[in-house]
Subunit: 578 residues, 2 copies
């Protein structure tokens, strides 16, 4: 009966062996050359322990964002009984969210069902579409609630036990308690946000096109305000400008000239986390594009009609009417995480503090990663006595170069700020530092001198940014630790314990920065690559296309995103209000 | 600066000359062969009248569905001042709505901004995103209201003047006043409906996957009920079955066996408007697929948990719990159309009655087409005396064959039922009928004999179905009449006026049935083609693909729909709940 068996077979083969031929070639016309990408992220296969009578430990993962999904992709499900709880049954490729706001890519092109991701694993991972509203570290339980509105007759809440808990719930938008923001502004964190913004932009144009409005009212409706000059806000402003210039302008010719985009930034510059060359290029480009960039301008209130700002320079407060505001000023804590932080004695913090192995400080068997957590790097100055006594093997009260050389790798691994400090000072290793600090010819150090030498080291400590790249690497790292738990229990591979005996079980997490992009509209982008390389222009945009296509989580989304870009090149963006 | 000028130029060329190379070739593997399609629907270019001082007549079109859009695509905007009012700023290719419910195609792939369609016209057409809530035929005004929720300070309502009004507002779903339907059921008429159904299906599966539910509760959540065995209901049931079999089953293996699809039809058969061969094929296929088809089952009540049906055979009422109900039982009247019908003395009707030239009976300069209207074909029996006296040129009181031959074409054009009657009786023309009725050898007829002969003719009158095909042809027909208004004023081209003198200005509308499809799932479809040809099976599904791809309103949607189908073949449907 089924005469299309060829197709069926072919499609099934493709679905079952998605890694068959993972090579994507993007030919760049603008001169970026040929970028070939080969995806080799096959799951880390670990020998499954013979099950028999031994019961698997329960791992519960909260969240399906970058951190959670990266953990799930890498965990060996044959070793653990893994459950995921998240209100979103999909993973979203958030760096493309600003593109979704204007239809450059479609929302569905950047999401992948989490069940699709986990079913490829070496064992069963269960997914529950629910929101965790309470973590109980004492009895090792999480309390969850279905996000659906149907009447469950009291069965919408349930409890999940865990042996290990992985908290990867991300963050929410930070309003800094500015009045009126929640009620009147759009955020840009979730897929729904991007879809709402897209509809809202079209709404503004349709409203401005109705008869009976004065020109002033039309201008009000076409005043788009973006709050926050970070990468997301800047990219959204650029996308919106492109959308209007390339597409909406032709469809709404009567009101095109009334459009105004304003970008409000409280600091001195937009894209302040980037190199100065990128910042000034972006500011100049926006000026040429007619985007009104207001620096040093802090939003103090938003009503349903006006947005009020305070100039940092002179304290003057002014209000302007708007059609739409997008609020993108950084991240805040989710209520459930705040409550959990209270419980574990971290109540005065903004995000969960963990050690370098992602373990939440103050509790057992709970790990936190991604935007809801930050790694509290241990300070050298706090451990200086322990380090000294560990290094001073002969208990002579002084350190020789030989003694120091023996522990130098462990010190550098445990305290990465030491390495950074050396690099900044142009030194090769800690022995150079010792020589420099110890004075001429001295090859022995007492504890006072040791303290002096290392006293400046902690200034190099860096807090990792709340980016997809960090979260993704953290998830992969933690899954690999879980996969090698038994092995490393026997043969610890980490650095020496300075305050205790023996070695740490695992190497501490190390973030590897691969660079960051800032698309600026008009087929131009800026990129800050490792080693402070800076690249700006059209070819960088093509690099951006290649990298973002290659980083997609599945071949389905990769095809969709590339199709969306192609479609946009040929036909422009769609302005239907759906 | 802009190094990608090749791409820009290429894409601009494509956008500006969309008819450059309108040939789409779909290669069918299953044996349907090669179907090539060439789109030749270039706008009907009419010589624009020299404007000078003459003021253009105002044409207001209500609605952007099949009828309205087809009118807009064909109207010569240089002759008229055309305005469109519709709450939807896009045209939707509704025959693919059932595919959208399960993600076989994306919602955005089947919509095209109406501004994109009208900007290609030979002049300016204005679009207003608003809902018409009152038609005032006396003062030739329509009252409109913006559909947006923003506070307009009283400016959300406005009035539009017209000289000619084209009512193409479509219909809404008909609940037959069954209690609980509006509150608890999904409809399938708009894009939003399809999107809601898609989310709701995933919701049912996620709910059934939560812990703490009994198997009975899981089964309840996975009971999908479709009310109405028409083409839409049947196609949706088939799509849903495919979605579950091919995609959801693999992602939700634990609950797969608890799924049940029930199709309720009040009549004796599903797809009753199709040939019997198609009906029985569909019923048998659904039985094999495990879809529970309940014939003769009328829904009497829907609560938030149960749906109650009454068996037509024995009057027994029974209730079953459900997870989701889709209601698809035919069309009802929109409130604004009902009110308008009251005003023009059509209060006891279901849809607006028009004459064969789409003019609404009982008012001037108002036209209605599409699902909100129906053509009241004039009866021969009502006009029989007038026809007789028109034909009897010599006023002899009898008709000769010669006299009849002179008016036969006009009669057949004015009363298409005559032609249908002849065809059914196997006669070549009206003279045969006359001979058959007049008895042997008689070549003259008096009025009584004429009445007897034609008395059965009106039984052949057909009401046109409420389909996209009819609406689209009506829109094109009416636009062509408008375009040739002046020309035909001088040289009327229609049939003789039987009751008046002279000729009708235009030929009356004639519907040309091009066939109808019923996709049945599992890559099989049924088609009823003109001349009662019936085609069922896999090759018909490929024919369906070709026809639906070729009928898309723009090259953008065509590319998107074909990409969606390809994506579905390779990767399956997406089950992310967005």
């Amino acid at each position: 009966m089924r005469g299309f068996s060829f197709f069926e077979r072919a499609s099934r083969a493709f679905k079952q062996y998605p890694s068959l031929s993972k090579v994507l070639v993007l030919v760049s016309v603008s001169g970026a050359g040929l970028v070939a990408y080969s995806d080799s992220s096959s799951p880390h296969v670990t020998q499954a322990a013979s099950e028999g009578d031994r019961k698997k430990k329960k791992v519960v993962v909260l969240g399906t964002g970058w951190a959670g999904t990266s953990f799930l992709k890498n965990i060996d499900a044959s070793q653990y009984d893994v459950q995921v709880v998240s209100p979103r049954n999909y993973f979203a490729f958030t760096p493309l969210l600003p593109s979704v706001t204007c239809g450059t890519v479609e929302a569905r092109s950047i999401v992948e069902p989490i069940r699709n991701i986990i079913k490829k694993k070496n064992g069963e991972i269960r997914f529950l579409e629910a929101e965790c509203f309470k973590i109980d570290p004492t009895s090792k339980k999480v309390h969850c609630r279905s996000t659906q509105e149907t009447d469950f007759e009291g069965k919408e809440e349930f409890i999940v036990d865990y042996d290990y808990l992985v908290v990867a719930m991300g963050a929410r938008s930070n309003t800094f308690n500015t009045p009126g923001v929640v009620e009147n502004c759009h955020f840009l964190k979730e897929i729904e946000d991007a879809q709402n913004i897209r509809r809202s932009v079209i709404d503004c144009f349709e409203r401005a096109n109705l008869p009976c409005l004065s020109d002033e009212e039309r201008k009000k409706n076409l005043h788009f305000v973006v709050v926050g000059g970070g990468p997301t806000g800047v990219e959204f402003a650029a996308e919106l400008n492109d959308f209007i210039e390339e597409d909406l302008g032709r469809l709404y010719p009567n009101v095109k000239d009334m459009v105004q985009i304003t970008l409000l930034e409280a600091g001195d510059h937009i894209l302040s986390m980037f190199d100065k060359r990128i910042t000034s290029f972006a500011e100049e480009k926006f000026q040429r594009d007619g985007i009104n960039v207001k620096l040093g301008s802090m939003v103090v209130k938003v009503t349903d009609k006006d947005i009020s700002t305070k100039e940092r320079s002179n304290g003057q407060i002014s209000s302007v009417p708007y059609g739409m505001v997008v609020w993108s000023t950084g991240i805040g804590t989710r209520p459930v995480v705040s409550e959990f932080m209270q419980q574990v004695g971290q109540g005065n913090r903004r995000v969960l503090a963990t050690d370098e192995w992602m373990r939440v400080l103050g509790c057992n068997n709970i790990y936190a990663l991604g935007d809801c957590a930050t790694i509290n790097q241990r300070k050298v100055t706090e451990d200086i006595a322990a380090i000294f006594s560990k290094a001073d093997k002969d208990n002579s009260g002084t350190l020789t170069v030989k003694e120091l050389k023996e522990v130098v790798n462990d010190i550098c691994e445990r305290y990465p700020q030491v390495e950074l400090y050396l690099k900044n000072k142009g030194m090769k290793n800690i022995v150079d530092l010792l020589k420099a600090g110890g004075g001429n010819g001295a090859d022995e150090l007492d504890i006072e001198k040791f303290k002096t030498i290392l006293s400046q080291v902690d200034t190099q400590m860096k807090i990792l940014p709340a980016t997809a790249q960090v979260a993704s690497q953290e998830g992969e790292y933690l899954a690999n630790c879980f996969n090698r738990m038994e092995e490393c229990e026997k043969n610890p591979e980490g650095p020496l314990r300075m305050r205790g005996s023996g070695r740490h079980k695992f190497h501490p997490f190390r973030y590897k920065h691969l660079g960051q992009f800032a698309p600026l509209g008009g087929e131009q982008a800026a990129a800050q690559l490792p080693g402070d390389w800076v690249s700006i222009g059209h070819s960088t945009q093509w690099l951006w296309y290649s990298v973002y296509a290659s980083k997609q989580v599945s071949w389905r989304t990769r095809m969709l995103v590339v199709t969306d870009w192609t479609r946009r090149f040929i036909f422009g963006r769609d302005s239907s209000r759906i």
